[in-house]
């Protein structure tokens, strides 16, 4: 992990190379460095970090998160790893829940393909420019994005003696 100072240096370099508006925030919490970027500039930032002077050559994971009730609700995390330095950096972006769009990073890291499809499947974030933006895990005709916090949990109530009066029985 880069320390807090190292993170600020990275943020400064990104601001200088990609654009001043690209970096929204930095946070250093429990020895984990997070660079929060604007959703429109994610692709540029990741592409810059991969080819930077101290490169982050591996994308370990892309995952989504729902921060309800915070706004904007959805977050997308990119976990970068520098194999030779054994160093990790998290790039994070936040998008609103209505019409979430983020540029894809598949052309930078080909391995992000299925990760982005999973985030689309579970959170409904559209990755612009993705070669194959379909659901990954749920059936094709599934409606809704099940990992969002406002999605109903599903399932059936289990009937025990304490709550058997509250639910209709199978023979009723």
């Amino acid at each position: 992990m880069p320390d807090a100072t190292g993170l600020e240096l990275i943020a400064r370099a990104v601001r200088a190379e990609v654009g001043d508006e690209a970096v929204v925030d930095t946070s250093y919490f429990r020895e984990q460095a997070t660079l929060e970027v604007a959703p429109a500039r994610v692709h540029d930032v990741i592409a810059y970090l991969r080819d930077a002077e101290e490169p982050w050559d591996t994308l370990m994971s892309v995952h989504g998160c729902d921060y309800m009730p915070e706004e904007p609700r959805l977050g997308i995390h990119y976990e970068l790893l520098a194999m030779d330095r054994v160093d990790r950096l998290r790039v994070k972006t936040r998008v609103g829940v209505d019409d979430p769009h983020v540029p894809t990073v598949v052309d930078v890291f080909a391995g992000a393909n299925f990760h982005e499809r999973e985030v689309y499947d579970m959170f409904g974030v559209h990755f612009d420019g993705h070669p194959d933006m379909r659901r990954l895990l749920m059936p094709e005709d599934y409606e809704g994005y099940p990992q969002r916090r406002d999605f109903p949990l599903g399932g059936e109530p289990v009937i025990f003696t304490f709550n058997e009066g509250k639910f209709p029985r199978w023979y009723d």
Partner: protein, 211 residues
Amino acid sequence: MEVTRTKVDDMRVRQLKAQQMLRGELAGKDLEEFVEERLLFTTLETAQNWARKNCLFPLGFGLACCAIEMITVIGSPRNDLARFGAEAIRFTPRQADLLILSGRVSIKMAPIIRRLYDQMLEPKWVIAMGACSSTAGMFSNYAVVQGADKFLPIDIYVPGCPPRPEALIYGIMKLQDKIMGTPDMGWRERYNAYGTEEKPETAIAPEAELA
């Protein structure tokens, strides 16, 4: 040895009798004795069911963690399902007649299982193995079918998470009983608990409990 010699003699006598019977030389009391000794009368249905229950062909089909236990039952010599005539696994539904649902059934897998079931030849049986395929178990969520009996007729439910191999073997023996047309009540018979059924007048009314 004396014992062996009497056995050999017996066999020789039976062979000679059979020979005489085929030649038509056996008559009267001898013929009646022979028939009584050699023939077994039953109905065609019973004989058919007996043959069916002793040559079950399970489909080689695993869904989740219960499949590990299912494989140890079907495939390993320790549990030796050949004792019950169900060890010949068929990897195509066209040749199988027993489907063991070993694991949770996700909603994406359900239509595939239904198609496999439809492709199996009649008569066919289904065992729901484990808590998940019976009632979804701990997966009370959006991704898992809440009990495989939502889309399949299921003959035997084997509880457990996962069931012990002995439990699955017991389930298969129950299925054999069912194929013979003699299903029993389950645990009431096992624990000799007849007469302990809850009577309608002693049951607590749901409204009374809510109040």
